[in-house]
């Protein structure tokens, strides 16, 4: 299932649907349910399999499509436990990229944001990367106070994993940080923290 988003916040990224594009090389990065979008892409354009390099990580919710993805036999397939673990590899491919590298990312917002950020840092324009949202809506959030980033945030408010302040999660989004902004929820009335609601499933 593709995901529907509220589009009122203009700093919020918008995601599309992966489409095969002609290119000399294809880097495909996915997490969790993003595996389904990768399979759909290969079903549309089986010729991509011959040059595709797929880097896959299971979702934070446990979804693991490694077996299904390996079964279609992409030219190169790596399974990594997390983005942090796979990042060096991805940055290497982006850095070695010649004209004609196509980048496809699918899965959670945190993953797509981080690949887009690393692609931008490697000098690719941010629209050179195709994205498709799949699976969980958990957020990657930067605490505006201590600057620490908390991954896979499900509730609003939540407690910053670094400084311990209780943060509400804004829709304001920074592509450079690949993160939403978290701001102290009880700043004006210390101690009055509303109950956490599971907003990002």
């Amino acid at each position: 299932m593709q995901t529907q988003f509220d589009t009122t916040m203009r700093s919020r990224p918008r995601y599309g649907v992966l489409e095969p594009r002609p290119g000399l090389a294809h880097l495909i990065v996915a997490d969790g349910e993003g595996g389904e979008a990768v399979l759909a892409l290969f079903a549309q354009a089986p010729e991509l399999l011959e040059t595709a390099r797929v880097i896959y990580m299971p979702g934070a919710n446990g979804t693991d499509m490694t077996a299904e993805l390996e079964a279609v036999k992409p030219a190169q397939f790596s399974r990594v436990p997390s983005y942090a673990a796979g990042r060096q590899r991805i940055v290497k491919v982006l850095g070695d990229a010649h004209m004609g590298l196509q980048v496809y990312v699918t899965g959670t917002e945190g993953l797509m944001g981080q690949v887009q950020r690393d692609a931008m840092e490697a000098g690719l324009p941010h629209d050179a990367v195709q994205t498709e949202h799949r699976g969980s809506l958990v957020r990657r959030v930067q605490c505006v106070h201590c600057k620490g980033i908390t991954e896979h945030v499900r509730t609003d408010p939540f407690q910053c994993g670094h400084c311990g302040l209780n943060l509400f999660v804004r829709d304001h989004y920074s592509r450079r940080l690949a993160a939403f902004q978290g701001v102290c929820v009880d700043a004006e009335d210390p101690g009055e923290v509303p109950p956490a609601v599971e907003r990002f499933k």
Binding site: M9, R10, S11, R12, Q142, V144, H145, K147, L165, R170, D171, H172, Y173, S174, R175, R176, L177, Q181, V183, C184, A187, E188, D189, P190
Partner: protein, 350 residues
């Protein structure tokens, strides 16, 4: 008058000894030309204005200069991320340094001097006791990058926007006197992205029209606009970074203390096209006036009462003073006799 007599020794933090002199009150940039307020594309040419006003010069250096530069140094020592410049913005930083040094030396020769011998420049800043020789466009000859160097010596926040793909990208900034936004978070965003949290203005077309106008901004033809908000106690650094520290001040204001603690906070924003980098410099100069000082000008008191009373709730919420609005309206209403106000913001045009 000696330097020390003119420039206040005052704080914007802790004991908050910041005060406006009677002259500073008279020249305060009151931002409301009418009795109500809504967002609009409020830009006009930044040409020299009335003598003695904050528009007299390209950059206004006033009695708070030295104390505000001290406050900036204090904030930067705690949080160096308030000053950031992406690597390709260094040339724009030099453009800004040149603009400020030339303007200061031309408009305030008693305080600032700039001597040039080719690219070898000699800069003297008497109020801050700075006397530096450096090579223009050679970073290794300054103690900081060019933007940081000069904006540690200029009042107000500064951001630098690169122009490409028909958009502006905020890619450098010195931001320590902001109305609750984070330069660290916003760096790298485009015009529509960094304005995303603002209510109503996008639907009104304000941002599309403003951006279109700015993309055509010409070197030598700067423009200006006002923005405003409210701040409890004269805290310059109302940053989101420190919101958990200053947030509680909003809840402790009372009828007895509002006159001295509540401040109208006005930003005089100017926009300059820079000559070498083609970037746009955006100085955001912050002025604050306590309610008790503001109401000494009858026209301003009447008008501020009406503006605050009738402001759409979305704006009061966004600006962060919804909870104190009733207290403000009650206080200001004592100074509103219902008489009409004259158009324009000058206090004496009654």
């Amino acid at each position: 008058m000696s330097l020390d007599d003119y420039f206040h020794d005052e704080t914007y933090f802790g004991d908050f000894t910041y005060r406006n002199s009677p002259q500073a009150i008279k020249r305060f940039p009151f931002p409301f030309p009418e009795d109500d307020y809504m967002y609009s594309v409020n830009m006009e040419p930044h040409v020299p204005g009335r003598k003695g006003s904050v528009f007299e010069h390209a950059f206004d250096v006033d009695e708070h200069y030295v104390a505000q530069m001290r406050d900036r140094a204090r904030v930067l020592a705690e949080d160096p991320l308030r000053c950031q410049s992406l690597p390709h913005m260094t040339l724009a930083g030099w453009d800004l340094l040149e603009l400020i040094m030339e303007s200061f030396a031309r408009d305030y020769p008693q305080w600032f001097e700039l001597h040039k011998d080719g690219n070898r420049w000699h800069w003297i800043n008497r109020p801050l006791g700075i006397d530096d020789k450096f090579t223009f466009l050679d970073e290794s000859t300054l103690p900081y990058g060019p933007m940081e160097y000069i904006t540690r010596q200029a009042q107000g926040d500064f951001t630098l926007q690169d122009q490409r793909n028909d958009n502006l990208w905020i890619e450098a900034g010195m931001v320590t006197t902001q109305a609750d936004w984070s330069v660290d978070f916003d760096i790298g965003m485009n015009f529509h992205e960094w304005h995303a949290p603002v209510p109503l203005a996008r639907e009104m077309g304000v941002f599309d029209r403003a951006l279109k106008f700015l993309l055509q901004l010409q070197h030598g033809a700067p423009v200006r606009r006002f923005n405003w908000t409210m701040t409890v106690d004269p805290l310059l650094d109302t940053s989101p970074e420190n919101y958990h520290k200053w947030g509680p001040s909003k809840t402790t204001m009372t009828r007895e203390t509002i006159g001295r603690r509540q401040h109208l906070r006005v930003e005089l924003q100017t926009l300059f096209r820079l000559p070498r980098s083609n970037a746009i410099a955006f100085p955001i100069r912050c002025y604050m006036i306590s309610f008790q000082d503001l109401v000494t000008q009858p026209k301003w008191a009447r008008r501020l009462h009406r503006v605050i009373r009738d402001l759409p709730e979305e704006l009061a919420t966004y600006k962060g003073f919804l909870r104190n609005r009733p207290l403000m309206v009650e206080y200001l209403s004592q100074f509103d006799d219902g008489k009409p106000t004259s158009p324009g913001w000058w206090p004496e045009d009654e």
